[in-house]
Subunit: 156 residues, 2 copies
């Protein structure tokens, strides 16, 4: 039997093991904005240089970023998102949306996103099957691993 102290197997936890360390998602933010050089990242994120170097190695190893030489003589590099890295943008959008709504005065946002439809982006998570916005009460969790139950939906 599995050691009783193993945590629940979970893709959320696994994803956080890749991008959940301090600064990692901020690196992804900057890289997605096109600011992929080491000194830009240091300035825009405010991370210590050594930690940033460690995070960049980890994100490249995990296939979220690629390191590319943008100049030989002198050899200089920048970091760019891979396709997998770009697929993490929904995480960033969800974090931004929550912060905009709960941590900020809506009239004074530090950044806005414009969608190609011409409007400011308000990201909404919808169900691919029916297209409706997803609400907590509409969800039922089905654990697939024996022994890991859920207590059922929480109502506020």
């Amino acid at each position: 039997m599995a050691a009783p102290k193993d945590p629940r197997p979970c893709s959320i936890a696994d994803t956080l093991a890749v991008v959940g360390e301090k600064y990692s998602l901020l690196v992804l933010r900057e890289v997605c904005l096109g600011n992929g050089r080491f000194d830009q990242l240091v300035r825009n994120i405010g991370a210590p240089r050594d930690i940033l170097a460690t995070r960049l190695r980890r994100l490249v190893d995990a296939g979220v970023l690629t390191k590319r030489a943008y100049s030989e003589h002198p050899r200089r590099f920048d970091y760019r998102p891979t396709a997998a890295g770009l697929e993490l943008e929904p995480v960033l959008m969800a974090l931004k949306e929550w912060g905009d709504r709960h941590l900020r005065d809506n009239t004074d946002l530090p950044m806005t996103m414009e969608h190609s439809c011409g409007h400011d982006l308000v990201p909404v998570v919808t169900c691919r099957a029916c297209g409706a916005p997803v609400h907590h009460d509409d969800l039922t969790a089905h654990p697939q691993t024996p022994g890991w139950t859920v207590k059922g939906p929480v109502s506020t």
Copy 2:
């Protein structure tokens, strides 16, 4: 002028300051699943008890969770999401979706979510204005703070 080493003002960073520490989002996962008791959290997350206690205090202070006595004599508590906490579920869904797609064999997921429409949930981030799924290339960032530029869209 602002000290030159201040990081970019950003709602993503601000949100991560609330829920970005190790285990915080896993706490939210369990609490949203209805497993809000201390020992359940310890077991299901695999976090040290002292760290968990610290995280719970922080999340309650930040208004993401509430602590509720589910029994007097003996006094026992559980943690439940606030309305603001439930609004972080899109973050969890986005993390789960990425992990399911990139870290797992699709035929063997540890948990599935069923939507009330009857289908398994595949969460998609859409633009509230036009309803279309949001793709990286459709976005333009508009920083609102002087001095914080972006280099423009990144193409892969």
